[in-house]
Amino acid sequence: MKYNPTEADWIDYLYGNMSSEQVMRFEAYLIENPEAQKKLESLQEMRKWMTSVEDKEVIAPPLFITNAQNSFWQFPYAKTILSIAASLLIIIIAGWLTNFHIQTDGNGIRFAFGEEKIIEPVDAKPNLTNEEVQVLINQSIASNATALEQKWMQQQEELKKSVNKNLARTASNNEKFDLLVQQVASASQTQVQAYMASMQQQNLKSMQEYLTLTSNDQKAYIEGLLVDFAKYLQQQRNDDLRLLQAKITDVEQTNNQFKAETEQILTSLISNNNGRTLPTGIRN
């Protein structure tokens, strides 16, 4: 049968907990299985690495344990029980101080505070018969109906009076209103006429003023224009005259110069032909 080690076997071999027979068997298995050999090496390596984690140094603090282990307060539910008891006591005292009662009878349970009032039973014997009660009810209904009818009639009369009064007041108001409308209409015609007349007068006046002002302005403008034109003409004339004078002067100068040049030429000609008869037969 083929040996297949369990996890426990692996650990036993790893920590040296195996007998010599088991070790031989396990090692034979390792020789046969190189994979198992690798696994073992891996686990051994892991264990080796684990030694690198060192313990931390720590100082133990002093512990103070009291000996009151068996005291009443150490009992697990002591505080709860005591708190419930205290609550109940407070409720009982509060009930006693407020005179709290709980009563049960055929109608149910009744909770009450204060002293109980004893109510004497009322005599339940009827004084009137059914017919008498019916008569009383009928009388009461009849009197109520009469009273209501009277009241209604009174209110109706008051309403009628009030309506008539209002109608009369409305009619007089209408008359007054018509009168006022007529007055307003007549008054408005005369007023419109007066207003129109005044408007016409005002327009006429303003037109006159406007025309007067306009004609004055135009006159002044034309005068200014004429003066300017006259000045312009004068200036133009002066300029023309100056130009003419300059031209004449220039012509005069040119003429003089020509005259001088001609004289000079003539003089030179005369000096060159000293005593010779000119072809024309003229003697100098």
Binding site: L43, W49, V53, E57, L63
Partner: protein, 209 residues
């Protein structure tokens, strides 16, 4: 694991336990002094939180002092004490399951001179590279421990760091020895898988233990 004076004292603490059981407060105090570091480290490795570990450790010792008179067999004191600690650890883990908080220890800059890590280092004069690698591996391992299931974590810590026998672990957890071994096996495998995921392997860890 080297036997220290403390371990020897623990082994010969039967008389102390008997006296504490009879109500001797001095003996109870001595017991607390003897076991405080072990229980604290167990809780610390379980939670990776100093405050929680301190709280659970104190609760464990208060419960120990109160319930000591009810202890039947003095020889089973160790497993009895760890049972109390495990129960409080589970209770606290249930309470803090939905709470999200950052421990003040994590806020402290580990590179700082004032850091508790520096203060707590007792191998400061060793090879700095070795110290750094060892501390780094230790941190990764502790993180990995927190990532495996609580059942596996309890067994791994008790076996690897508390040096308990399988019988004692089985007593503490009230399970069979085979279940303890099975949980330990799967716990180690899970740790290995987590470390492989973090690229920790034979090649990347170059230091002698």
């Amino acid at each position: 694991m080297a036997e220290t004076l403390l371990d020897i004292a623990m082994l010969h603490a039967d008389t102390l336990i008997l006296r504490a059981k009879q109500g001797d407060q001095h003996a109870q105090g001595r017991l607390v002094q003897l076991w405080y570091k072990r229980i604290y480290n167990f809780c610390f490795k379980f939670f990776q939180d100093h405050d929680l570990a301190m709280e659970v450790t104190q609760k464990t010792f208060i419960a120990m002092c109160k319930s000591l008179p009810a202890l039947q067999d003095v020889l089973r004191f160790k497993s009895w004490l760890y049972t109390i600690a495990v129960n409080y650890c589970r209770e606290e883990a249930r309470k803090t399951k939905n709470k999200k908080a950052v421990s003040f220890d994590l806020v402290v800059n580990p590179e700082s001179e004032q850091s508790p890590n520096w203060e707590g280092t007792n191998v400061r004069h060793d090879n700095p590279e070795k110290v750094y690698q060892s501390r780094e591996l230790s941190d990764i391992l502790q993180q990995a421990l927190c990532m495996i299931s609580a059942e596996q974590r309890e067994v791994v810590i008790m076996k690897e760091y508390e040096g308990m026998k399988f019988r004692e672990i089985a007593e503490v957890l009230n399970i069979s020895e085979n279940t303890v071994k099975s949980r330990l096996y799967y716990g180690l495998e899970a740790l290995k898988k987590i470390l492989t995921g973090k690229n920790i392997n034979k090649e990347t860890v170059h230091y002698e233990i």
